[in-house]
């Protein structure tokens, strides 16, 4: 059975010495995921509330996603029904 890569023995740290490394990993992950986070949060808010506290997921709704899904479905239906896209 293949074993997972475990890095170098000489680099292995244990206990509290791991904390700064985890902190750095979390900070970098937040930076990498920030654009995705803001887009997801905006998609879960009503259109007129997107700019109110843009980083906080208040006034939660799935309507925007639902509307986008139905709009995409109707566009797809139109484009298969006609020879050319309707938009």
């Amino acid at each position: 059975m293949a074993t997972e890569y475990q890095g170098l023995e000489i680099d292995r740290v244990t206990g509290w010495r791991m904390a700064p490394r985890y902190a750095l990993l979390v900070v970098v992950s937040v930076i990498v995921l920030f654009p995705v986070y803001t887009t997801v949060i905006a998609s879960l808010k009503p259109g007129d509330k997107v700019l109110d506290n843009p980083l906080v997921p208040d006034s939660f709704t799935l309507d925007v996603l639902r509307n986008a899904w139905s709009a995409a479905t109707s566009i797809a239906t139109c484009s298969t029904a006609q020879s050319s896209p309707s938009w």
Binding site: Y5, Q6, G7, L8, E9, I10, D11, R12, V13, M18, R21, Y22, L24, L25, V28, S29, V32, L33, F34, P35, V36, T38, T39, A42, V50, L51, P54, L55
Partner: protein, 303 residues
């Protein structure tokens, strides 16, 4: 040694066997290239249905034109922003995640996640972040107070910051690709090299500089060539974020955008578009050859 007669007898079979590849290459690579080079000698309408041959001088005319030189300069700046920053961040993330820690797989998945994001989606996300009217960052109070440019005129509308902003989105979108390749390269380095260096008293930085970087040479060479090529061909993010502007400086009109962009000055002439495209091809070819020859000599392949 084989005699010549035997080889000649094999010729028809050989030709039949390479015919499928030759046909595909001819139809999809050689013919379009020859056609584009030929079209580059002509002035045409947008759909290339009416053309007038102007000759090979059109290539030197386009090269010397102010628009092409400006686009080439912008492309160079864009590449110099995207390639070193993208490479440095990719290496840094890969080094950070190349450790034995509980849950490191989750962080590796996060760092490589941008590879699954298309250029269109990544650009839309960054548009949503940076656009002054609907963007998230310009509408955060303290950011607006601290950096006025994010709101008025906006990072994507200011000639001084537009290219950097587009480059930032491009670096983000390409981060996963660099991270995955460098991680694979790191895991291919034999552990005993690091251990031998550590026994000799080399610290973390010394081991990185004298063991990790040289052993990553082939990977880094490949990444640099691909990132440079991608930066020269960047189109989607520019079209979606700035549309080649802001006007009138055209500070984000790269050579690729000049070939096909909506607001490009050669948009209505398929001949000039072809000339510009051929120059882009030649520049990329020369750059790739220079990189492979220049860096290739310094790369250690471990044999």
């Amino acid at each position: 040694m084989r005699d010549a007669g035997w080889q000649w007898r094999d010729l028809p079979t050989g030709l039949v066997m390479i015919a499928p590849s030759a046909l595909v290459l001819g139809a999809f690579l050689v013919y379009p290239l020859v056609k584009t080079v030929s079209l580059g000698r002509q002035r045409c309408n947008e759909s290339a249905t009416r053309c007038v041959t102007t000759g090979w001088d059109q290539y030197s005319d386009v090269w010397r034109s102010e628009e092409f030189q400006q686009a080439l300069w912008v492309t160079g700046k864009f590449t110099l922003l995207v390639v070193p920053i993208g490479l440095a961040l990719g290496i840094a993330l890969a080094m950070l995640a190349d450790r034995y820690l509980r849950g490191i797989g989750i962080f590796r998945a996060i760092f490589s996640s941008t590879v699954a994001t298309s250029v269109a989606v990544a650009s839309l996300m960054w548009f949503f972040l940076l656009q002054p009217d609907v963007g998230v960052i310009p509408n955060i109070g303290w950011v607006e107070d601290l950096f006025g440019v994010v709101k008025e005129p906006g990072l994507l509308r200011d000639a001084g910051t537009a290219l950097t902003s587009v480059a930032m989105s491009s670096v983000w979108a390409g981060l996963g690709f660099t991270f995955i390749l460098v991680t694979a390269g790191l895991q291919g380095i034999p552990a005993d090299l690091h251990e031998a260096a550590a026994i000799d008293g080399a610290g973390g930085f010394r081991r990185f500089w004298s063991v990790t970087l040289p052993m990553l040479g082939p990977t880094l060479l490949f990444v640099v060539v691909v990132l440079t090529s991608r930066a020269f061909q960047a189109y989607g993010e520019i079209d979606l974020l700035t549309d080649g502007g802001p006007d009138p400086q055209q500070s984000t009109t790269t050579v690729t955008y000049l070939v096909y962009g909506d607001s490009s000055v050669v948009r209505s002439d398929a001949g000039l578009q072809a000339t510009t495209a051929v120059w882009l091809f030649v520049i990329l070819l020369v750059l790739a050859a220079l990189q492979l020859r220049g860096f290739g000599r310094r790369v250690h392949y471990g044999d």
